[in-house]
Point group: C2
Chain length 120, copies 2
DNA sequence: CCACGCTACCGCGTGATGCGCAGTACTACG
DNA sequence: CGTAGTACTGCGCATCACGCGGTAGCGTGG
């Protein structure tokens, strides 16, 4: 994948956002992410991320047996997790803005950050 | 650094954008990136990226001796490099939009992608 | 009944990449 | 001469997404 490197550090917050409102199990989180536009995400990456987030205290988990298939390991976001989500969301926004501005410099900067012909 | 992972796959395009208009040498590219808001970038990362881009044909290079200090290895973007820059810029924009939408779902989606209470 | 296929999860090894650190070298300044 | 700033390089490490293979439950068709 060519966007594979872009996911670094972002999968965490993407997964948190995905289950922010509804608990989810791995296989389903993969589907949700793909539906959201992160098409190329590998399932192993998601399972790994869920485990990592669980280990860090951002998620809690419970297993639900299923009649039509294997059991499902649901993950639920914790208070810790919501805090992380908010922080990382803000971090992402700042970073994305910086990058976007660097890639497509807007000629008329908002809030007079610098005037047109500035040097340093 | 906490944004260290966010840089993955993005430093390439950031460096290309940095020297798109003016050739630059490593030490200076680091300063430009930091000035642009990518404060936490390590110098070794930039030097490595420049070398990688050069190896891939996106940059050409020439050495300029300097009176007041060590020599400077300038890098200049090639046609190849400009093509890469445009492609990766588009990739970034798509990715950033997807992520932003996932993190802060806009209640009124543009272009009626889905209506408010939709389920699946 | 067995082979498939889908759902669901896990572990292992790999590859890309950013980073810290150490080292080299040149200039200027006290 | 020692120190600081400029400028570049190489080495090893850590993070993290991914591919692949394996396990397992369930349903369907030959």
């Amino acid at each position: 994948m060519e966007t594979t490197q872009l996911l670094k550090g972002v999968l965490d917050v993407a997964v948190l956002a995905t289950i922010r409102d509804d608990d989810g199990y791995g296989y389903d989180v993969v589907r949700r992410l793909r539906a959201a536009g992160i098409d190329e995400v590998g399932d192993a990456s998601v399972y790994g991320t869920l485990r990592r987030l669980y280990a860090s205290g951002a998620l809690s988990t419970y297993v639900v047996p299923s009649d039509d298939g294997p059991h499902r390991k649901y993950y639920s976001i914790t208070g810790e997790g919501r805090t992380q989500l908010d922080e990382q969301r803000a971090t992402w926004r700042r970073f994305a803005d910086t990058m976007t501005e660097l890639l497509d410099p807007s000629p008329a900067r908002r809030a007079g950050v610098r005037t047109i012909g500035e040097k340093k």
